[in-house]
Homo-oligomer: 329 residues x 2
């Protein structure tokens, strides 16, 4: 499953281990956007960055930090996987605008403006009401634009997302979600959002997390690629990517923490339910990063051209990051 350009997974939060990094290599993945925060504050994020620094030392034959998009090319050339560190929430910047530049300097390159809930910046996708972007949020968007930190609205609410796209002078992404026209949940995205993302010059990464898919863990690769083909009709294939949301080897306690953080006294089941409180079974054709070529094969079978497949599998992410990770000129 050779590609003429880098292969990139737009989101993972695995229980990181040497085996997981070996599977990235086995799957031919040249870069992965990894999650370093769900609910952490600034100090807690520093410890998570410290953990990544230890992994870069311990597994320097398999992974390397990504500072600019060219590092993804360097990773590809040297047979490693570049790690793009990102945050699923804005909690680490607390209420401090100066933290944006400081985190960028620490190679935090992508940040979601909210995660499911209302943040200091905007509403999450599970809130009943959506006030859009706050006063602080407008300053954060401008500062992220300035330093070259990507705005990711994967877990944000619709009006907030549209407002972020309108206010941002640079393209916005949804790193991992699926279209509502395919599976109508508040966590997935409307055609209106998809069009606005494309018009901004951003992209959407398709998720392999079963709760984002109409037939859950029973979803076939053919159905997945049909969803992508219909999305290409809406956004154009050049605005599509992959963001698998792979959460491999994580115990249920991590899922509970992702859903409940420190904010909930009662168990919040997120996209699950009392009856389905735990991780969904993985898709049979996407259990680990080593299965990445199954997606490539599926896209080719769907009839996408080689150039389109290369774009969706990583070329579009790479072209986007070439500019997006640079400071504003």
């Amino acid at each position: 499953m050779a590609h003429d350009t880098a292969v990139i997974d737009g989101l993972q939060y695995c229980n990181w281990s040497r085996e997981v990094f070996e599977q990235m290599r086995a799957g031919g993945i040249d870069a992965v956007h990894v999650t370093a925060t769900y609910w952490e504050n600034a100090r807690e994020l520093l410890s998570n960055i410290g953990d990544w620094n230890r992994r870069f030392e311990a597994h320097s034959d398999l992974i390397m930090p990504v500072e600019t998009a060219d590092d993804i090319r360097h990773a590809r050339e040297s047979g490693k996987t570049g790690i793009i560190v990102g945050l699923q929430n804005c909690s680490p910047i607390e209420d401090d605008i100066d933290m944006v530049a400081i985190l960028k300097r620490l190679n935090v390159h992508i940040m979601q403006l909210s995660y499911n809930n209302q943040s200091l910046i905007c509403a999450g996708c599970f809130e009943d009401t959506d006030p859009g972007i706050s006063r602080f949020g407008r300053q954060v968007i401008a500062e992220m634009n300035r330093v070259g930190m990507v705005i990711d609205m994967s877990h944000s609410a619709e009006f907030s997302t549209l407002e972020a796209i309108r206010l941002s002078e640079r393209p916005v992404v949804v790193s991992h979600a699926n279209p509502q026209f395919y599976h109508d949940t508040s966590r997935n995205k409307s055609e209106k959002v998809m069009l606005a993302l494309a018009e901004s010059g951003g992209l959407m990464g398709f998720s392999c997390y079963p709760f984002h898919l109409r037939n859950g863990s029973g979803t076939g690769i053919d159905e997945f690629t049909e969803m992508i083909a219909r999305s290409a009709d809406v956004m154009g294939a050049e605005h599509l990517g992959i963001g698998t949301d792979l959460c491999q080897d994580q115990p249920v306690e991590v899922l509970q923490w992702m859903r409940n953080g420190n904010w909930s006294k009662v168990m919040d089941y997120g996209e699950g339910s009392v009856e389905r409180p735990s991780w969904p079974d993985p898709l049979p054709w996407f259990r680990t990063s080593a299965d990445f070529p199954n997606i490539t094969r599926g896209l080719r079978d769907r009839g996408f051209s080689n150039a389109e497949v290369d774009g969706i599998m990583g070329g579009n992410w790479l072209r986007f990051l070439d500019d997006a990770l640079q400071p504003a000129v």
Copy 2:
């Protein structure tokens, strides 16, 4: 007062303002080691770094951040003053070894292992007993050696200082202190320490803080340069620098906080006393950075060669930093 190499002040903690930065330029200072911490924890230091980032934006015509020693040359060439950020205490790394690399990435290049008191690493100069370097401290020294963060023992106790020099594989500095043979206080340094610093390849910067000088605020430039000449006999002129400890425009509350941090319920007067609780009057020949040429003139009058004067005024610091700020090979 032209110099053939960079002019460097090895320590200041002023109430930073555009006027202070203009005085640096007026004094021909190409780089200053500035203090970003006395007692702050990790999160508080991030805010102080944020403050510096704002200053770099607001006064980009006068100052610039120093990432490597070559940036000091770039500052000199462009008529700016390079800012070398350092810490007077190890409090920001808390008990977390990973913080050393994270702070280095944020351009924290110099760290004292203790400030007056016992730290998690070693004893300060005002402690009655001195256990030397702790278990954590040995790991911190190795990690500072690895990433290229300078070990500064200005406010540390004697045995701790000698042990740090012995354990460190790279040279150690005392950025700002004077010899005990000239003025015998626990804050100044013994000949034993001075010799060990020189043998390590490090250096000592002479302080213009009146409490470090035998005749306090009445100390003349001739007495100051005589102290330097006698130190050159001990250490060799190539291991000498300037570290003025200039604390310009600071209110007495800042002095009280430097002395008491959060640790003391009763007023600690440090090098002062109940009778002299406040800042000493500045030396008449060193009130601001603009007076730096008075030191150059004094050293020339003392009979140092031009090369020796250039070295003491900054060349020795620059040569030292050329290697010291690089990661270990």
